[in-house]
Symmetry: C2
Subunit: 301 residues, 2 copies
Amino acid sequence: MRALLLYRLELSPDTDPPDTDPADAVVEVDPATPIIRATDLGVTRGDGVFETAVVRHGVPQALEAHLHRLERSAALLELPAPSLDRWRTAVRRAAAAVSRPGVLRDGEIASIKFAMTRGDELDHAGPTGWVLSFAGADPSAVRAAGVTAVVLDRGYRHDVMHTAPWLLQGAKSLAYAVNQAALREAARRGADDVVFVSADGFVLEGPRSTLIARIDDTLVTPPPEFGVLPGTTQGDVFAGLADRRTAIVPVTREDLRRADALWLCSSTRGAVPVRALDGAALAIDHELTARMNAVLDARED
Amino acid sequence: MRALLLYRLELSPDTDPPDTDPADAVVEVDPATPIIRATDLGVTRGDGVFETAVVRHGVPQALEAHLHRLERSAALLELPAPSLDRWRTAVRRAAAAVSRPGVLRDGEIASIKFAMTRGDELDHAGPTGWVLSFAGADPSAVRAAGVTAVVLDRGYRHDVMHTAPWLLQGAKSLAYAVNQAALREAARRGADDVVFVSADGFVLEGPRSTLIARIDDTLVTPPPEFGVLPGTTQGDVFAGLADRRTAIVPVTREDLRRADALWLCSSTRGAVPVRALDGAALAIDHELTARMNAVLDARED
């Protein structure tokens, strides 16, 4: 990965006055320039939220779904409601900028990560925000080869979002050290990725992806009420496969064993098949994977 | 709180060469200056560790215990081992600087927060480190008045440190959004602070403190194996009260109901009595609280 472009967003604790042009709030800075203070709650507590959208056809894909989820995560963390006009303006502008000829090298695609923190813990001047565009590897190879994954316990019951909302399950927060540690555990076990399960045996999601399982010829994914992120990519896969049975339903570990195909879906990679889970081989349905990704790559917003 | 002094630490992925002067790695910067990039894993993932020491008599109290715990947290996150000489040098220098006459205002004490992140996710140039000195309120008032607290579920079983080490329990990490959310939940319930319990009914710790309970005339605190931080302040309280029975033992929610006094211990505040738990009044033992804090405030290292 390499950084392409960074915008700092001027945010205030209040909602935008109606006469403000959202474009005025977007300030371009060198990506190598530090923009976050040592007293920003984003870094002192992981107290913030983020989204990552991929760029195709010059636009950030599924932007409205990402903005909606940013709003949802902010609400779960009780952050000020994001000024969506500012974020939309900045992310679109970044997508257009990195889509100019010559920005990307062969074999690269552009993605945009945008984040909002609670701001400085000392000056209380409102949220800190930024929009970072970066180049990553084109996912064609991983979509064809698939990944290996291991099942790891996320430690919480499936219903903590309701019984203990302060655990922030279902929020895409900056406090993702556990997700990173789970990926290191996967690597230690010789695998590429992780499927989290709840302490009481329900399948959840990956540390950076939404799971789709094909069980009894139906494509299923766990419900957001179980503390998983509503998948923007999985949502568009389901919407785009009108001839397939799809369902958002609880999936147990036992159900997962009966799955004859699995995918991990994320914005930057699309639908990536799982070719082995906990060491047990799974067939890759190359044709369906290609259809899923054709649906995703064709999106123009 | 107000920032007093900020040092950036030059860290490398390797251990210090023997001919390096640790003082050379300490660079003073204006605390208002951003020092963290938007691509630093400390802010993108909460992927880092920290400690906070209080300054008394011109020195950071319990510094070796804090450095030891920084090392332990770094190991739990599989970060490079911190170069303790550099951290020790920087924190001591900061303590001396903020102890000069005229730096603190009446009613303030100085504390030092030091943090190490995994570093930039793009350039892989090694950890990012900083040492921030700040002024906070003298804790005399809160030590006398005590605080109110509520019991909240932390969602994990007591043994996840062993069964699922990737959950990073027992590490003082930058991914503390849940601790912040728990404190907001306490405020919503009209309380000042939180006592976390495990999903299976064991008492753990506060979001920013170690719990001491007096049960059957013994001062007890839960064991670090239950995924709680080894308390530097609680440790010095136990060590300093040689005439009292103390024990590091499992404490259940039922045990907690039998406690006739509770304290939340932290570096910046010392031992603060809990005057009500979940709305039920608890007597404050002012004499013992004063003895605990006399022990703490007398420390010269």
